[in-house]
């Protein structure tokens, strides 16, 4: 019976398609900079596939979610944001800085793995910031986490919500902490001022940690 059940379970699959999330307008002071935003190609069609416990295939299609998410987030954070393609040469454009987000890792867990009712999603973004001379001045890993309980709507709905919560968690962290590791506000519109460049592979020291409202400075 056990073997039969395992055979039936093998090859089971679930597919989740995520609609682009909407971030509420944040309560923050806009950073007075004009930035370029260059997103990687996979932000337009990000798909994560994973086999859970060796028998259940999950496919999470984030589609354009990351592209929409970062355009909206940085649109709220900076005075002017211009999305540039990978083919564009940002050195000839009048930006104060160029921001290049990417995904380092995407992971999730399902209730079978954790023996709870929860779906959880972890996303590690990487934010690179280049100054107006094209020097890499920031290389910041941003770890985000979202969790959602299974409901009568089923697991797919909960996994979608967990992914959206993880993106929202990343947004909250970036809004509150962006200036600490990036010192981006020091890249003023004054063309003589620049942030200190970092080596390729070097990382900003600020990590994603749980913050209390009283210690987020």
């Amino acid at each position: 019976m056990g073997t039969l059940f395992a055979s039936l379970a093998a090859g089971c699959g679930s597919s989740v398609v995520l609609d682009p999330p909407t971030i509420p307008k944040p309560l923050m002071t806009t950073i007075p900079l004009s930035v370029g935003l260059r997103m990687p190609e996979n932000f337009e069609s990000f798909v994560h596939e994973e086999e859970v416990l060796g028998r259940e295939q999950w496919t999470i299609d984030l589609g354009r979610s990351n592209a929409v998410f970062f355009a909206q987030l940085f649109g709220y954070m900076f005075e002017t944001v211009t999305v540039v393609s990978e083919a564009d040469d940002p050195s000839i454009m009048p930006f104060d800085a160029l921001i290049e987000p990417s995904i380092d890792e995407f992971e999730f867990s399902v209730p079978n793995q954790t023996k709870t009712n929860d779906f959880a999603v972890w996303i590690r973004y990487r934010i690179k910031v280049y100054d107006r001379d094209g020097k890499l001045v920031v290389n910041w890993p941003v770890s985000a986490y979202g969790k959602s309980q299974t409901t009568v709507m089923g697991g797919k709905d909960a996994l979608q919500r967990a992914a959206i919560l993880a993106m929202r968690d990343a947004a909250a962290l970036m809004i509150i902490k962006f200036d600490e590791p990036t010192l981006i506000s020091s890249i003023s519109s004054d063309p003589t001022s620049t942030a200190v460049p970092v080596e390729e592979g070097g990382e900003a020291t600020a990590q994603a940690t749980t913050l209390g409202g009283d210690n987020d400075e």
């Binding site: 309560l27 929860d118 969790k147 409901t151 749980t210 009283d214």
Partner: protein, 228 residues
């Protein structure tokens, strides 16, 4: 003022055990509060129910939060409840699981953030109620087996399980930016499933009892029924 009320503790203990064919198991319920300050609420003031962050390991169920919201708003003495999603969105990113204040001492600084005090004032939020806790199966046993054949089917046996619903609510007063006190509900109950051909479930609805008990006590705590 806090010292005046710090030792005031209200305590209720009830035992409900209905096995008379109404489909309910036994439930033991204990609801208590510990007051730290004088409360009260005006008709144009509101409350928000929030779950403590899952970043801190809290597992409060979304349906329990919704249950408390509905129970507090219901009836002639119902409070004005702002849906927590509306509140969190309007104050983004300051009440996200990662960023929400964990202690009242963080409130003065939070209120200085751009737009935060104005948003809270606009919605008339007087109290934030932080929920933590969950419902867990703590024990179980018995055995039940079912079989079906061409002539019909049936079950035989007896199973039982015990659930514990333990929830705690911390009430923050945004007028004084201080804690007003806590209310807690600890409910345990045993459900039974005897089967002689047909299973007859006698379910102890501990989470529903914890919702009703906590909401009633919270309402009394906030409108200070006990003081008048």
């Amino acid at each position: 003022m806090n010292e005046l009320w710090s030792s005031t503790v209200a305590y209720r203990l009830t035992l409900v055990c209905a096995l008379l064919g109404v489909g309910a198991g036994c439930v033991t319920s204990r609801v208590e509060d510990a007051r730290e300050g004088i409360t009260g609420i005006a008709s144009d003031e509101s409350v928000v129910i929030m779950a403590k962050s899952y970043h801190l390991g809290n597992e409060t169920e979304a349906k329990y939060i919704a249950c408390i919201e509905n129970a507090l708003a219901r009836g002639s003495k119902g409070l004005r409840v702002i849906p927590h999603k509306q509140f969190v969105d309007s104050l983004f990113p300051w009440f996200e699981p990662r960023t929400a204040p964990t202690e009242t001492k963080g409130l003065p600084k939070l209120m200085e953030r751009p737009g935060v005090a104005a948003q809270i004032h606009e919605q008339g939020v007087r109290y934030i109620i932080w929920l933590e806790g969950d419902t867990e199966k703590v024990a179980g046993g018995g055995s039940l087996s079912c079989a079906a054949g061409p002539g019909g089917g049936g079950c035989f046996g007896f199973a039982w399980w015990q659930n514990a619903s333990d929830y705690n609510a911390s009430v923050w007063d945004l007028e004084g930016l201080e804690s007003a006190g806590t209310v807690s509900a600890d409910v345990s109950g045993t459900s039974f499933l005897p089967a002689l051909v047909v299973p007859i479930p006698l379910i102890a609805r501990t989470q529903a009892a914890a919702c009703k008990g906590l909401a009633n006590q919270l309402r009394a705590f906030i409108i200070s029924d006990e003081l008048t």
